[in-house]
Symmetry: C2
DNA sequence: TTCGCGCATGTAAACGGTAACATTGACACA
DNA sequence: TGTGTCAATGTTACCGTTTACATGCGCGAA
């Protein structure tokens, strides 16, 4: 391993001069600078990142906790995280948790051991173990989409899920639908509550009933969408419009509806959430709510980095704009 | 920051004893061990990972270069990488390159600066900059799917693309197709050459022509699939079967074919590659080649870690099995 | 009783940088 | 000529661990 000492000997200067040449070249005379740079090149020297980090006490790394890597919506967020992190000189450690608390604990503890300076949580759980909880008190942590379940309020970058659900509901009401159902994702999350509340508020205003039996699901997967539709089609009153809490669920729902010999949207309208890439290209293209995933990731990094730098928190909650994307999976209610 | 010194003072022992208690407890008497562990708990001490890494010279980190985060096939590979890395005590740094050489250089250089111990490349380029190339000579690097373009042969975990393409070709020939086309992904890659060679070899055996005009594309995207079909439909002889070099392209192709008023597979059969999740649930479900993406990721880590440990290389090339998944996007050639 | 062995622990030198402080010398100015 | 200033460089302490080596002590064997 070529280290700074070898370079300093090669150049006939002290290690400090080598360090200065690389970190603050203007403090070094041009003559020695050239000498040193030549020695650096000759030795093939690259500064040891671990060593400088240990000195500075900062790893310039953030860890991102993702419940599911294959979800393209999360990946778009992570794309934004990556981009912003790189611009700010941070690198991104990937923490694929698969929803397992043990995994979350493990990744979260990286912030306690100086392996990372902060963490971004894409799920809604408080990621630290009970043993670490008190140490985690003032650590830089930001959540995206979901709010972290803890007394302390960590900053969150989110969507106005309530308003977005209301927009979807109004969209479907406009088509004359009267029988609604929902296939939800993770239960007990903030998203679950807000979206459901949004739907309920609109339906209540119109005096349209919306019972617990019409709410099914429990995971953000295609399979959950299929199972959800199978359940809903077995109900005495078949819904004519289904809210799916993400596009994966909606894709499964559309698939199952067609498989049952029904048509989308002629028999049942389906709306999703997230606007993942493929949603525009399935048959029929999905009506959905676009979330600015990339920007949410970017923003999360900006907030996190300012926390890491110890800057005061401006807002603990940022709500980014959604956009209702009307496509062909929703249409007039059947007569 | 609570460090080992604070703990040692609290426990009334030396820092060495604290370190030993945590790293090799059997060298410490039970009495002091308990004393130390209590002090650790009282101080809320967590060893500084940066410091131990600088000492050991190993970061126990690998960096993964991905051309495109939103591609679910890559994400399945990365899922396998993550899992295996965690089991082996490594963490994963994410390098979203977007195909940009500068980004690749930047991430690759992390291995030179001890920020990572090795790298996994999912693209086919040699990721180091020209300036770093000679230093990169003996660095642990493994590629998945694609072979790295360099004189030195780095280990690669791949699929038998030639045989898989032959299988797809035979599948379509069995349906009586005579007019083929291909929408390819990245040109100039190993995959491009092998898959095309596989297709060509089968068609040649059957004396079926396959001209350059029938080969289009250039990116692994839905849009490329759409553009590809638009081009192919403008040809004097319309193909009855299209090889798409991944499922995203195939999804775009199916979309465009339907949009043109044609049916899949009655008018045109479409086959893909990768077997991403959604392929089974679009209309019609895609015939495709399943790649064991997760296992490829796992295997890549195993090979990489053994390289990092300096173990001798067993095989420089591992070929994992594919599986032809016959679904409904392929069928009998139209009369 | 003395010697030697081995366990438990302490001391201090690493690891590879960075940066505060010290030193040197050139130069300007009185 | 003496003094002060400043730029360029060297010296050295330090970041937080780990670990080779040193020390001390108890105990069994001779």
């Amino acid at each position: 391993m070529t280290n700074i000492k070898k370079v300093s000997e090669l150049a006939g200067v002290s290690t400090a001069t080598v360090s200065r040449t690389l970190k603050s070249p203007d403090q070094v005379s041009q003559a020695t600078r050239e000498k040193v740079l030549e020695a650096v090149k000759a030795a093939g020297y690259r500064p040891n990142w671990l060593a400088s980090s240990v000195k500075s006490g900062r790893s310039n790394t953030i860890v991102v906790l993702v419940p599911n890597l294959v979800n393209p919506f999360f990946m778009r967020i992570i794309g934004g995280i990556e981009q912003a992190a790189q611009e700010k000189g941070f690198s991104v450690l990937l923490g694929d948790t698969q929803g397992s608390p043990e995994r979350e604990h493990e990744y979260a503890s990286m912030v306690l051991t100086n392996r990372a300076d902060g963490l971004i949580q894409l799920d809604h759980s408080f990621p630290f173990s009970a043993a670490d909880a008190d140490l985690a008190e003032d650590l830089p942590m930001v959540s995206v989409c979901e709010r972290i379940a803890s007394e302390k309020k960590y900053p969150v970058i989110e969507l106005d899920n309530y308003a977005a659900s209301r927009a979807l509901a109004h969209h479907l009401l406009g088509y004359g639908h009267k029988h609604f159902a929902a296939i939800v994702g993770q239960i007990s999350s903030q998203i679950y509550r807000e979206r459901l509340a949004g739907i309920r508020s609109v339906l209540q205003e119109e005096q349209i009933p919306f019972e617990q039996a019409q709410i099914t699901g429990g995971a953000y997967t295609i399979e959950a969408g299929i199972a959800g539709v199978e359940h809903l089609l077995s109900l005495p009153q078949r819904p004519t419009a289904i809210f799916c809490f993400n596009d994966d669920i909606a894709i499964g729902a559309v698939h199952a509806i067609k498989k049952a010999g029904l048509r989308v949207p002629e028999d049942i309208s389906v709306v999703g959430f997230d606007n993942i890439k493929v949603s525009a290209f399935i048959d029929p293209p999905l009506t959905t709510v676009d979330q600015p995933a990339y920007d949410m990731g970017r923003r999360a990094v900006e907030v996190l980095v300012s926390q890491i730098r110890g800057e005061p928190l401006v807002r603990s909650k940022e709500v980014l704009p959604f956009q209702l994307i009307e496509r062909e999976s929703s249409g007039p209610a059947p007569l």
